[in-house]
Symmetry: C2
Subunit: 266 residues, 2 copies
């Protein structure tokens, strides 16, 4: 089992990489290949678009690679997602692709293209409180599809996204088919008024309204709303689900934290 | 000429209201009717949805009102825009509606419904540096359609929006028809990576790609991007226009400042 790590968004921390490599060595059930591109830096990004796309295409086309693990989020995978999802080599079709946050753009584009993708922890999560648990959870899923890694409420086909990432891909060439899927969303560092505005947009989409229902993960590091918004994130999400006719199905165990459970796209 | 002021988003400052009333009294060419709802407060909003919608509907239906001037932005007009744009009374059809920023949701919904709308300064702008000039510019447009108020580069049908507001209404029931219109966008308080992400979304829309072209207003109070993003807002917008085939037509004289010129929707 060979796992390739590439960084389609921002630069991976050397410390996180070293600690994840140590975990993998101790486990002994897989081999980790961290692409040198993960440590490149070009402004906001882990290398410019061409560099990030080339690294991603390289590991997609490598028949010896069983899984592609996105190094971290941040911002930038949307800039190469449409290109990466076009002209997919055969070798890319027998792999799993795992990540979340900004990597959601790739999860969407690749699911749309028929690849196996899952929303779950990434190597950079090693630096979070309890990050080792998150990294093991991701590896348990990648290596042996351990059911213990799964988000516990999954009952049918599902998809999971960071809320603003989901909003930002609606209507674009990488929008996946939500029909009949349960949609799990989580958010980080967005004020309540912004979460409300994004929920307006997401639930206003005819495509999203074809989803089976919606569950809310954690909204963490919510900056202060001045004045107090008046509703918390669950009330906001309930409200927009009710307005749009989308079924609200309760909370989900995903978020920008070490507790983030795995959601395979179905 | 009677101008009604309502606040579909956030609460109007008493100071701004008093200073705008003084300007109107000194001008002597119009009468200002600031609805009491402008000073209500309910969490983030100038009254709850029902209160804001009722005030808006009241002035729309009032045949003695010649223009509806949105008090200020902030956030919240999207929560009542679809309702306000349905069942439009006849009296609402002979008025001008003016505002910008969050009020863009109403400009979109009302233009879609066939009403006369324009993007331009609002009463709360009185508190900006040089705000008096902005207020006079808005009143000159409302009272006598003074060409001097207009954004100077307009050559054909146009629309103007705050960028994140435009992004948030795409695909919803209030999306207007962009076909053949020049699209002017401005932004405030968004980091460069967010502007890039929003431009990805906006230019990824098939509806937006039917616009005649795009011009960029000011992006003000851009928070620091850590690390430095690598491109400024104009390079970002040029890039996404080039990628999407939308013609980039240069800068526009609009923004969250006293220089904000008027853009009637055509």
């Amino acid at each position: 089992m060979k796992i390739a790590v590439v960084a389609p968004s921002c630069t991976l921390s050397r410390e996180a990489a070293a600690r994840v490599e140590a975990i993998v060595a101790a486990r002994g059930d897989c081999v980790l290949s961290i692409h040198a591109q993960c440590f490149e830096s070009d402004g906001h990004f882990a290398g410019n678009d061409a560099v990030r796309l080339a690294a991603l295409r390289e590991v997609m086309a490598d028949a010896s690679v069983d899984a592609v693990w996105f190094a971290r989020g941040g911002y930038g995978s949307n800039r190469i997602a449409e290109a990466a999802a076009s002209e997919i080599p055969d070798a890319a079709r027998s792999k799993l692709y795992l990540g979340y946050s900004d990597a959601g753009f790739l999860l969407a584009a690749f699911h749309r293209a028929g690849l196996e993708v899952a929303h779950g922890p990434m190597p950079q999560d090693m630096l979070r409180d309890g990050g080792e648990v998150a990294v093991h959870r991701a590896l348990d899923w990648i290596v042996r599809r351990d059911p213990a890694s799964l988000e516990p409420g999954l009952t049918g086909p599902a998809m999971a996204f960071n809320l603003i990432v989901l909003s930002s891909l609606l209507g674009t060439a990488i929008e996946p088919d939500f029909t009949g899927r349960e949609l799990l969303v989580e958010e980080v560092s967005e004020q309540h008024y912004r979460i409300d505005r994004t929920m307006f947009h997401v639930t206003g989409s005819a495509a999203v309204r074809r989803a089976a229902g919606l569950r809310l993960g954690r909204a963490s590091d919510v900056p202060e709303n001045d004045p107090e918004f008046g509703n918390d994130e669950e009330a906001i999400v309930r409200d927009w689900c009710a307005r749009s006719g989308l079924e609200y199905r309760g909370r989900a165990d995903i978020g920008h934290d070490a507790g983030n459970r795995v959601v395979p796209f179905g």
